[in-house]
C-alpha cells in the first residue's frame, strides 16, 4: 500500500506539467528526492528479501541501509507537505502574469544538476572508501555498486533535461535559450573546463604520493561526470542569478 502511494505521488509530480513553472529550490529538491526514492523502492525489495532470510540468525547489517532509506522517504514526505501548503498559499495570491519565455525550468535544471552532482560525488566517494577500508567486497560488486549509485544520482538530472527538451522541441534550436542564458552557459563552461582540469590533475598527481587516494582508480569516470555536472550547474546558476540581489 505504501509503495502504491509513493508511486502515485511521484507520477503526480512528473505528470503535473506546471510543476516547474516556478524556479524554486524546494521543488527541485522534492523532484530529486522523489526520483531517488522511487528507484530505492527496488533496492528496498531486495533488502527486505535478504533480511527475511537472515533474520532468524540475528539483526542483519541490511537493517542499517534500510533505515537510511527510510530517512530519505521521510524527507520526501515532509517536503511534499510543505509544497502542498506553499502551493495553496500562493494560489490565493497569484498575479497570473503571462510568461512567453520562461526561465524557471532552466533554473530548476541547474538546481537539480547541483543536487545530482553533489550527491553523486558524495555517494561514490563514501562507497569506495567503505569497500577499500571497511567492508572489502568482490570486484564485480564494486563495479555494480558504482554503476547503480551513479545511475540513481544522475537519473533526476536526465529526467529534467528530457522534460526541458520535450517543452523546447517545438521551438527553433536558436531560441532554446535567450541571449543572457547563452552568455551564462558560456562563462560557466569555461570555468568548469578550467576547474575540472585543475581538480582532476591535482588528484592524479596526489595519487603518486598518497596511497590513500588510489581508490580514485575505480571511480574516475563517475567522479569526473559528477564533478563537471556540479561545477557547470552551480556556475550557470550563479551567473544567472547574480543580478537578482
Amino acid at each position: 500500500m505504501k509503495k502504491i502511494l509513493k508511486i502515485s505521488n511521484i507520477t503526480t509530480l512528473v505528470l503535473k506539467l506546471n510543476f516547474f513553472k516556478r524556479d524554486n529550490f524546494l521543488r527541485s529538491f522534492l523532484f530529486f528526492t522523489g526520483v531517488v526514492s522511487f528507484f530505492m523502492l527496488f533496492r528496498d525489495s531486495a533488502l527486505a528479501s535478504d533480511i527475511s532470510k537472515e533474520y532468524i540468525f540475528g539483526l542483519p547489517d541490511e537493517f542499517i541501509i534500510f533505515f537510511v532509506s527510510q530517512a530519505l522517504y521521510f524527507i520526501f514526505y515532509i517536503l511534499m507537505v510543505v509544497l502542498l501548503i506553499s502551493g495553496l498559499k500562493s494560489k490565493c495570491s497569484e498575479g497570473g502574469e503571462k510568461v512567453l519565455k520562461d526561465d524557471s525550468i532552466f533554473i530548476n535544471a541547474q538546481y537539480i544538476g547541483i543536487l545530482s552532482g553533489v550527491s553523486g560525488l558524495m555517494l561514490i566517494i563514501i562507497f569506495s572508501l567503505l569497500y577499500t577500508n571497511v567492508y572489502p567486497i568482490p570486484s564485480w560488486a564494486v563495479d555494480a555498486g558504482i554503476v547503480a549509485i551513479s545511475l540513481i544520482a544522475v537519473i533526476p538530472y536526465i529526467l529534467i533535461v528530457l522534460y526541458w527538451l520535450i517543452i523546447k522541441i517545438r521551438e527553433r534550436t536558436g531560441e532554446w535559450y535567450d541571449e543572457k542564458q547563452y552568455q551564462d552557459i558560456t562563462r560557466a563552461s569555461l570555468i568548469t573546463l578550467i576547474a575540472s582540469v585543475v581538480i582532476t590533475a591535482g588528484i592524479f598527481i596526489t595519487q603518486f604520493f598518497m596511497e590513500a587516494f588510489n581508490f580514485f582508480n575505480e571511480i574516475w569516470f563517475p567522479f569526473y561526470v559528477f564533478l563537471v555536472l556540479m561545477l557547470f550547474s552551480s556556475c550557470t546558476l550563479y551567473f544567472n542569478k547574480r543580478v537578482s540581489g
Binding site: 502574469e97 543572457k180 552568455q183
Partner: protein, 73 residues
C-alpha cells in the same frame, strides 16, 4: 579614450515607466527574452546584443541611442 572605462548605460526603466508603466515581464514577452534578461539590462549587469537593443527600441518607437548610450567613468 585610452585608459578610460566605457560602460553601456540605458534608460530602460524610464522608458517602461513612460510606456504605460509596463512590467519587465511584458517587455520581455514583447522582445522574446526572459524577465531576468530585462532585469539584468536595467541593472547594467548585462549588455544586450545589437538585435535585442534594436527590438527594444522598436518596441518603444524610439531611436536606439535614446535608450542605450555610452558612459565614460
Amino acid at each position: 579614450m585610452k585608459g578610460k572605462r566605457i560602460k553601456l548605460k540605458n534608460d530602460l526603466r524610464r522608458c517602461r515607466f513612460e510606456h504605460n508603466e509596463i512590467t519587465q515581464q511584458e517587455l520581455a514577452n514583447a522582445v522574446g527574452v526572459t524577465r531576468l534578461t530585462i532585469h539584468s539590462i536595467e541593472k547594467g549587469k548585462f549588455n544586450p546584443s545589437v538585435i535585442l537593443a534594436l527590438k527594444i527600441a522598436e518596441f518603444f518607437k524610439k531611436p536606439v541611442g535614446s535608450i542605450f548610450y555610452l558612459d565614460e567613468d
